[in-house]
Symmetry: C2
């Protein structure tokens, strides 16, 4: 939860005069989002989300993220539509920050999505991959396998209260993952962070995919593996094969998996678990005690990684 | 800015099933409010604000605040309407906190309201006082002159960087204010915290008065004095008599001031400045460094107090 930048009402009026979006009716900072400041803005015509990009976001990469949202929304994916001002510009400056306005999407995120919602996510993820195929910009995944090794190397000692051999054990597991990492699978623009909090539903109907700020060029099946990690575990830490079956089935209605993608699923899931274990471990160590956003426990993904290691075949994920 | 309590989506669904308010379309914690957690909730029918009352709020006093909102909204004041559930109840429990839902009001607050907006505020403040006259519940002002003395007495040393004689000087000024404090002026239910951030406008039209959690029984003209302090100073710290003239004129269209209220205006303004100086000073000293909500500078109200001390007559506020 975060609103890092306060916006003065006079500065806001001046900013909104750039757009043809009607009369401002309400404006409120919202507690969603970790990296940026987000505001819900209502006019007599529509609802919008205004985002101010905070320090952790690389301004040079914004045209990629915004371009991808533009491309996918125009192609029919339910995602935010970037709003152009009277001059046709999307990226602006407001209160000393890069800023952009996008359409508001109905829906709320589900902490523990049900199988129907997992199926809908699978369908939408396939649609994302199919529709992004002719998106021309590209961005390297800044959190791929090479970066995991560097990330782990940057950590000297495990945080207090975590197992002493955690780093050595992680290094072993990481070597095994990197050694088996597939490099000839179908790839393209992926979301790369499609956790439940980034997907909106009204009832079981999926109404939106948000937060494109980790999107990059990588393996399609890796994107699926990120979703299997974040959507298909129950609150007690166990893997829910009913949900994974539904998610993969939904995905295959749009984009059937190739044989080598299916064969690689377990290692891709291990890699995805490793990625979130490592970034959470890093944030756990480096987040100041007084930060607005509290770090997430890395051990959740350590447990998931161990479950994926035991998956001997695609059947473990519900593929028969 | 604050959202202290996270609400699980399953708990929210269960909570909303108590109401007849349509299908949930979106739900977001908002950064407004210091004392409580506030969420903007949209259904296919309406927009609502859901408030979770945090620890600083005395649960026993909630029926007064909610009753006052009910009374005033029913009488025609533009303020939130408390929403009853299917059983006719307003106060609920959610995520371990007392909770209530109210109607959402259009409008945004103005950091530096213009004279037209000050006039509109005056009109609405008079309406508040007239309409609350037959509200039967009552609540003592927990931050009246007696409490100021106790508050000042609880502070041992001025915060670092503030004048060394600040506390002694404040004690002198406070004695003078208490000695001159009027006790026979018209009184009733007042808002007691009607700062610009608690009043909403669309353009210059006042669309709502919010945040009733300091409301209490006290002098009507003291409520006006709080507004003169918070609405009629410019960003450079100077008193803007054009704004105060407009505010008082607006007020008198609804409720003409009595002669002894006019005579007491300067001392009531000094008292109001003292009240916010002291609570800010207290918060400045007692807010932990890692708090979500940063304390406001008390010296802003010290300067205002000095300006009111120089006001020799009602003319200083624009009353001729």
């Amino acid at each position: 939860m975060a609103v890092y930048t306060q916006i003065d009402d006079a500065a806001l009026d001046q900013f909104l005069a750039r757009y043809e979006i009607g009369t401002l009716l309400s404006f409120a900072g919202i507690a969603e989002g970790v990296e940026n400041s987000n505001y819900l803005l209502r006019t007599d015509a529509e609802n919008y989300i205004l985002t101010l990009y905070e320090k952790r976001v690389n301004e040079a990469e914004l045209p990629y993220f915004i371009g991808l949202m533009q491309h996918l929304s125009a192609a029919g994916l339910q995602c935010p539509v970037p709003i152009t001002d009277k001059d046709g510009d999307i990226l602006q400056q407001l209160s000393g920050r890069p800023a952009a306005m996008v359409s508001f999407l109905n829906g709320t995120s589900k902490r523990f999505p049900n199988p129907k919602q997992c199926f809908a996510l699978g369908q939408t993820l396939a649609q994302f991959h199919l529709l992004s195929a002719d998106f021309e910009m590209t961005r390297k995944n800044g959190l791929g396998p090479d970066d995991w090794t560097a990330l782990l190397g940057s950590i000297d000692t495990p945080p207090e209260g975590m197992p002493e051999n955690l780093l050595a054990s992680a290094a072993d597991k990481l070597s095994a993952i990197v050694a088996q990492w597939p490099d000839n699978l179908p790839s393209g623009a992926i979301h790369a962070d499609l956790f439940p909090n980034n997907v909106l539903f009204v009832g079981d109907e999926l109404t939106g995919v948000i937060d494109f700020y980790f999107a990059c060029h990588d393996l399609y099946a890796y994107d699926l593996a990120v979703c299997l990690n974040s959507w298909c575990f129950d609150s007690d830490g166990s893997f829910n094969i009913t949900k994974s079956t539904a998610l993969i089935k939904g995905y295959q209605t749009g984009r059937p998996l190739e044989a080598d993608e299916i064969d690689s699923l377990a290692i891709l899931c291990s890699g995805a678990a490793m990625r979130f274990f490592l970034t959470r471990l890093y944030d756990w160590i480096h987040t100041p005690a007084d930060a607005l956003v509290k770090p997430l426990n890395p051990l959740e993904y350590w447990q998931k990684l161990r479950i994926h290691e035991k998956a001997q075949s695609p059947q473990a994920y519900g593929i028969w």
